[in-house]
Subunit: 486 residues, 2 copies
Amino acid sequence: MNSKDGFQWTEQGGLKQGVPTIGKIQPKSNLSSTDHIFDVIIVGAGYAALTAARDCTTSGLEVLLLEARDRIGGRSWSSNIDGYPFEMGGTWVNWGQSHVWREISRYDMRKELEISQDYSHGVNEFSLMVSGKTSSWTHDKEDAVMESAIKKFVNVDGQYGRLVMPFPHDEGHNPAVLPYDRLSAADRLSQIEDTLSAQEHACLKGFILLCSGSTLDTMSFYEFLHWWALCGYTYSGCIEYLIKYKFRGGQSSFAINFWNEATSTNNLSYSFDCPIATVEDDGRIVFATSEDGRQFRAAKMICTIPLNVLNTIHFSPPLSAVKQQALNIGHLNQCVKVHAEVTDKDLRSWSAIDTSSKLLYALGDGTTPAGNTHIVAFGANETHLDPEKDIVATTQILKDLVDMDIKRLVFHNWSEDKYAKGAWFFPGKEFITVYSEALRARHGNIFFASSDWAVGWRSFIDGAIEEGARGAMDVIRELRIVRHSL
Amino acid sequence: MNSKDGFQWTEQGGLKQGVPTIGKIQPKSNLSSTDHIFDVIIVGAGYAALTAARDCTTSGLEVLLLEARDRIGGRSWSSNIDGYPFEMGGTWVNWGQSHVWREISRYDMRKELEISQDYSHGVNEFSLMVSGKTSSWTHDKEDAVMESAIKKFVNVDGQYGRLVMPFPHDEGHNPAVLPYDRLSAADRLSQIEDTLSAQEHACLKGFILLCSGSTLDTMSFYEFLHWWALCGYTYSGCIEYLIKYKFRGGQSSFAINFWNEATSTNNLSYSFDCPIATVEDDGRIVFATSEDGRQFRAAKMICTIPLNVLNTIHFSPPLSAVKQQALNIGHLNQCVKVHAEVTDKDLRSWSAIDTSSKLLYALGDGTTPAGNTHIVAFGANETHLDPEKDIVATTQILKDLVDMDIKRLVFHNWSEDKYAKGAWFFPGKEFITVYSEALRARHGNIFFASSDWAVGWRSFIDGAIEEGARGAMDVIRELRIVRHSL
């Protein structure tokens, strides 16, 4: 079934909005009336919400899930087209990411992983654009130069960050790390620029913009250090964790397990196409009112609305001043991700960085059943691209990276998506060290759960599951105490 | 409160059996009668059982937990003596171990970790005994020689195992790895012995016996390869995952969270000091009979009894022939772990390998509140030690490693423990590749869950939680279907 989300372009079909996904839920609601007072309303249907819904329903709570879209998955969903999954957002996972891997193991999907890179045939090269000139390297050289550059970038302590951030899941363990949140990536680059070759500079810029989807001037160096620590303080770890292992059947083949388990309890009510406008908490009951005026009630709420969207919701009583401040600042990631299905078999083992392009990082990501190569390309906010606005231009941007014969484009414009307003979380300077606690804080009977303020793999699917579990646990604990005291 | 488990020796008090632990549960039972038919009986109270009990009770099932001992934790528990936790069994954890880390995150214990090694003061040396001569090295040299030796050992494919075992959590992904299960560690050593220096040989032998607690002649090389893959195919990964991060308050401070959550549901009945003798399944009801003749009933059973003990239980109908075969073979790990509290402050940064000693691997593991150094030492089955049988001899074995002034010894003799019959799982040749499936298979209404046959971090706390979650999920799913069909 087609979701309204996403775009597909083919020569024959032209540009079409909406792509098929097994994450589309039909019928869109199983609610007969809005009279019932639920134990908990969960707003959203991404991994945080799915985890919370699964945990709450299996714990016997009566849950109402309200989602603005027509599908589950939030910022991580896949569209299966002609037997091949295109990942519209969050894609890669790793067994070192505890929350997501625990679920992969639990849903017996450990054998469902495949590797994006395939260097067994084809051009087997990395193309780097520096000062208008393209160099073609082996992937081994790509790794060596990239590693050298990133290590200079993160080596603030002579131990490549291990000294200032020894515990990636307790990032402020050594308070000496905190001042690095006052540096942007550009600030840090200026400290080391005399030590970087032009090639290293280009590789590094490409990589950090791939991570942040924002701009060098604005993105927090501290947050990049955190990614680096999570990746085991090595470049090989970055590849292993960030961009290597994905689901053979796509993200939605994973997400659907959470959904099915939650519905199997008979404790899950839901309504899709149901964006929330206002949330009121009278101290006893939380009232959620949809944009079309329906009102829903529950004892508690777990709100998983993304950071960049939260300030469009009216809360009564109002959120704390510091939380509102954080929401008004938001995060910076306006990454654009474009999939191209191309007939060029040789490009399966190609990758490229061209920081002058609106799609600055690209790689061969798979082979379709038709035998075509699947290329994925990323752009950041340095030079923002809305791919659907000029498909000819988008096509040309890809072809400028390398000559390719494009049969299909698939993408989701996260920046123009009013329920996301951006891609995965990436903060500016002095955001996470200032607002983390406020973002994680409850507001009366309302609990907030999102990867955007996870402790560990913040910004990742793993972080969403971490947060969904936290939200559910808080609600379950509190309702259990209430019930025992009755 | 003192458990009956464990031993402590001090000069003043002499040798005493039983040490204090917060893992002791009192009263030992909350059962009023044995009339009730439970949803599920869980046998055991280690991490597999605790996870299963937590998951089943929070899912609304009526659970009866039956445990032979007087405490929770199974082969992982800590004794807090004079304000310092001694880890009697499983100790170290890492955020890359998904199941245990998910729980650490969930129970908000991410800031409770500390690092065993402290090289900031003291002798700062590694002592290696080779051919009757002791060398003293820096820890950097220890790491370099150890890494060089282990890399030779695992490099069966020119890629240090990455080629033959590319997915550590899907270990047989490349079937080319399976023949390595026909090699013992000694077999593999003989293939590379010409490439090893005597020092490398000693380091390697110390390390692999530390991992297996068995003998070079008997232990499976394949299983060591699996450990290596799990540790990220690097020696630094081995240190990070196997022997670095532990709980400030000890393992029992972690385990108690599972217990408290399960009991908070009011769905948990339990009886400690209740070893099970027979298990009968009439196809509808599972009957568990304790050694003292009490009979308990449930629709399902999750049996977490360790591999080496399972063949002491009478099952009716009998277990499959292949499962029985596996139980009769069992695993090999007869590791002994001895803690010494010593006045020598300088030994905090000391470590040692002496493969001619009955305690062949030792290191400074902490500083007690009294300012003493805590040394932990391990022995394997090459030269087995029962520490309590001759305390003077045990003391002398430690002093032969390095001169130390011993104030206290603490240990658990896992080999003599009839509810464990060994330490963590480590198999002989052609065991795991032959019997894994049989060990994981259900038997009618009885599900088996143990770290001893986990898919991922088999032998580890992480594997126990993985398995407990699997067992609970299987039972919950099945009972949910039954109920919906009523």
